[in-house]
Symmetry: C2
DNA sequence: ATGATAACTTAGCCTAGGCTTAGTTTCGGA
DNA sequence: TCCGAAACTAAGCCTAGGCTAAGTTATCAT
């Protein structure tokens, strides 16, 4: 995949550690982001977001959804009305809005660099959680230039 | 970050679930990939990869390294000689080689689309685990075209 | 040669996020 | 109306990957 194995010396240990720490942090927030994004999507597209639908779409058992939603409630992102679905608190809505915009941006970017739309969607689901603000800005810049380029 | 919130209907539930399943799978393998890549780097650059150095560079306690390395051993990726460092089995070397190439590719790609090198390194540490083969191929294609473009 | 220090391990704890199985509660069709 | 099915909850289990604190053990400098 690459010819020359660059002889780059290792970064200072604390820098190195900081990278991994950021990665672990992103992993910790990923589930919440995916859930609230999906809840928002379901509310918008289907009018309601029931736990059973979340379970189906996340590919996870209902019990897992119950537990995860419990944590989201604890963290002030979600409210539940049993048999009537899930709802987002203001801060849940905020997170969903951000997550959705980021998700869309990553998908459009991946397509712009030559990935097919289906794979772009799949990959974006994971990649989105690890793109920093700076990376997202770079992606947006890239897309803006692409659109301009046609002119 | 985006003006129009595309009214894309939700994908079929099973497709949707498959995306999240792939994401979870990637998360499960990420730690092993990072460890073997780092062990390989340390062996190459420092001549040895001791647990204590791994701990420092991963930003994690020594006890965590012991536990994680135990899993890597169980999975046939690593061998240990106490006070003499860690070594990769053939399949560990193979994983390290792949992970390293992928890491380098992602970094170069991020820089090519306008990210500064330090952020590229940080983001790559997380992004690399979620880029499919197709995405990596697209990144490589993009880089090849960039290089060509100057001609 | 030996002992202080660094490296490593062990034990015990925690949370997130999975699972199955077994209840309970609500809804809606006959 | 009422009862079976669907939705939800609860209980109990598991693994990964973190932590701290308390041992061991090997190395190396004196
Ligand atoms: Mn996602
Ligand atoms: Mn998403
Ligand atoms: Mn990584
Ligand atoms: Mn890496």
């Amino acid at each position: 995949m690459q010819r020359t194995m660059a002889k780059r010396p290792l970064p200072p240990a604390d820098h190195h550690a900081a990278r991994f720490a950021r990665q672990r942090e992103a992993d910790r927030t990923a589930t919440a982001e995916d859930y609230v994004e999906l809840i928002a999507d379901l509310l918008r597209e289907e009018g309601e977001a029931r736990a059973v639908d979340l379970a189906r779409r996340m590919g996870v058992s209902q019990a897992t959804v119950t537990a995860t939603v419990g944590r989201l409630q604890r963290d002030g992102l979600v409210e539940t009305k049993p048999y009537r679905g899930l709802f987002l608190t203001p801060s849940g809505q905020e997170m969903a809005r951000t997550a959705k915009a980021r998700h869309e941006l990553v998908v459009r970017f991946l397509i712009a660099v030559g990935l097919d739309p289906e794979t772009a969607e799949t990959d974006a689901e994971g990649l989105e959680h690890h793109a920093s603000e700076k990376a997202l800005a770079a992606f947006a810049r890239f897309l803006a230039e692409r659109e301009d380029g046609g002119r």
